[in-house]
């Protein structure tokens, strides 16, 4: 009974790790070795792929650019979502349920065709090829998600807390920042995580709205694969490195996530 309980999560995690292992092991091989044939472990272990990435500005700026706009987006999305989620959680107002659903509809359109209009829009306000452009564009799908998540957590906090605070003499801002936010800290952690995640992984809009200055790592990778043929080793190294920021983020919020899930109603 004990063992079978562990079996399922373990097998699942094994399944998840397998392609990742393959990617990482490939990053330590030369492209020649990869194309030559199949080998489970790198026969000729090499760090040249990573060396290339760390020494070439085009490569490492790709990572920094991505991190920049993702951080901006996360902060922005959660910041505007907080008051809105509070409103949905505590108040009834004209059109509130429809508004809530409308937010979700913004994830429903296929992105491909919208790439061009987005490009035109952001160019027209002079934001083409900036971090701000991608950060703003990503709020389209991240803000609704943040609102949904935060509203769920906020609804778990009874209104009596608010009322007690007002009776104690707090103004709304004072109550909100000193009392309410700490109570839903776990929910904020969860929302931050999901915003980071969806912004970090999104490729189409990020590529469309940038060209040189704010070029995300994903764009750098696709450029490589098309111009000089498939440099598989290099691609694998670049890909492996993209996993790291995500792993770090989730390591830091792991306690929030575990705790947040216990507290909130996501």
């Amino acid at each position: 009974m004990r063992i079978s309980k562990w079996l399922v999560p373990s097998l699942y995690i094994l399944f998840l790790m397998l392609p990742i292992y393959w990617l990482v092991s490939m990053s330590f091989k030369t492209t020649n070795e990869i194309l030559r044939g199949f080998s489970l472990f790198p026969q000729e272990f090499t760090l040249e792929n990573y060396a290339k990435i760390f020494s070439d500005p085009t490569w490492y700026w790709g990572y920094l650019n991505s991190l920049a706009y993702v951080s901006m987006n996360t902060v922005l999305s959660v910041a505007v979502a907080l008051p809105a989620a509070y409103a949905f959680s505590r108040y009834r107002f004209l059109g509130d349920k429809h508004l809530f659903f409308w937010l979700l509809t913004n994830r429903m359109a296929p992105a491909a065709v919208f790439a061009l209009p987005f490009l035109q829009l952001y160019s027209s306000i002079g934001l083409f090829d900036t971090y701000l452009a991608v950060a703003l564009a990503h709020t389209l799908f991240n803000v609704p998600l943040a609102v949904w998540i935060l509203e769920g957590f906020m609804s778990g906090v009874p209104k009596e807390l608010d009322e007690t605070a007002y009776v104690d003499g707090h103004s709304f801002p004072s109550f909100f920042f000193k009392i309410f936010l700490p109570t839903i800290a776990a929910g904020i952690g969860v929302a931050n995580f999901f915003c980071f995640m969806f912004s970090w992984v999104e490729l189409l809009l990020a590529k469309t709205l940038t060209s040189v200055a704010a070029k995300p790592i994903a764009a750098v990778m696709t450029r490589t694969s098309s111009t000089s043929g498939y440099e598989l080793g290099l691609l694998a190294a670049a890909g492996s490195l993209t996993i790291i920021p995500g792993a770090i983020v989730i390591w830091f919020v792991r306690n929030y996530i575990a705790k947040g899930f216990a507290l909130g109603r996501v």
Partner: protein, 287 residues
């Protein structure tokens, strides 16, 4: 919770509305505009009314893409949702392993989509990829770049690998929030494990499962990058899902009109389905 009526709440929601509407409405209007016009690629536009819509609804290509898309979406929903719930049920609720499990399971979600596609491409290559090599070694004739069945297999496995964890995380969140007293009461009432699942766990997970199903439905319907990088839509157009098809039409052929109309049709399909599903699920939530 007893919510008070307060129209001033609109001020709290205003930043969100402005931000989202800015990104949603203007591009949407542009696309609607395209869908009602015709262009010959030289930036002159002619009004064509609903012509594109009619064309599309009569086009075999559209129905083929839609068919493939529906098959894809429903297949992954049928796999990912039960699988995700099952895994969440077996995860530890407390203790030191919880964090480790959550972190490891979340990794696939944090990989940029083009890397996911590339990773699975390399992984499944017939001779030099880990999966491809092993499948061929045990006797399957596996080649996803040439054979339709293999391409679909790889595509679906990739998506399951990529997104099941989202369902797991959300289902786990729902499960963990069930107070112990419910399990204790069930013990006292003599309920079997199946009854506990059916009458306590599943109902309590309804809200999170709704979010999970909606998210997976919408995202899988619009999936673009991963299959594009994995198979490019091939072999032939065997795995050309709707977004890839749209891409070919819009940017490949620069037929903005039909592309615009198609994307709006798809948008409406998703909107309608989601709305129905959402309303059905949330019907009993008002307490």
């Amino acid at each position: 919770m007893n919510k008070t009526v307060n129209q001033k709440a609109w001020f709290l929601v205003l930043p969100v509305i402005i931000l989202v509407a800015f990104n949603a409405i203007i591009p949407l209007m542009t696309v609607v505009n395209y869908s009602l016009q015709e262009t010959f690629g030289d930036n002159t536009f002619f009004w064509s009314g609903v012509r594109w819509y009619e064309d599309i609804l009569h086009s075999p290509r559209f129905w083929a893409s839609l068919g493939r898309q529906l098959f894809f979406t429903f297949t992954i929903l049928f796999i990912e949702v039960p699988l995700g719930v099952a895994i969440a049920l077996t995860m530890p609720k407390k203790g030191p392993w919880v964090s480790v499990c959550l972190v490891l399971m979340s990794l696939p979600l944090l990989i940029p989509w083009n890397v996911v596609g590339a990773m699975w491409n390399i992984f499944a290559l017939p001779d030099i990829g880990l999966l491809g090599n092993w499948l061929n070694a045990v006797g399957f004739d596996f080649n996803f770049t040439r054979q339709t069945g293999d391409a679909w297999f790889t595509l679906i496995t990739m998506d399951v690998w990529h997104w099941t964890s989202l369902v797991v995380l959300l289902a786990y969140a729902g499960l963990v929030s069930i107070p112990d007293a419910y399990y204790q009461a069930a013990l006292i009432d003599g309920a079997s494990k199946w009854k506990i699942f059916r009458f306590i766990q599943l109902p309590k997970m309804k809200r999170v499962l709704t979010i999970a199903i909606l998210l997976r439905f919408m995202d899988s319907f619009n999936i673009y990058t991963e299959p594009k990088v994995l198979t490019g839509g091939g072999p032939g157009n065997a795995t050309t899902l709707l977004s890839i098809d749209l891409d070919k039409i819009a940017l490949g052929q620069f037929d903005l009109g039909p592309a615009g109309a198609m994307s709006l049709i798809y948008f409406l399909i998703i909107l309608l389905t989601s709305w129905i599903f959402y309303t059905l699920m949330m019907r009993n939530e008002e307490q």
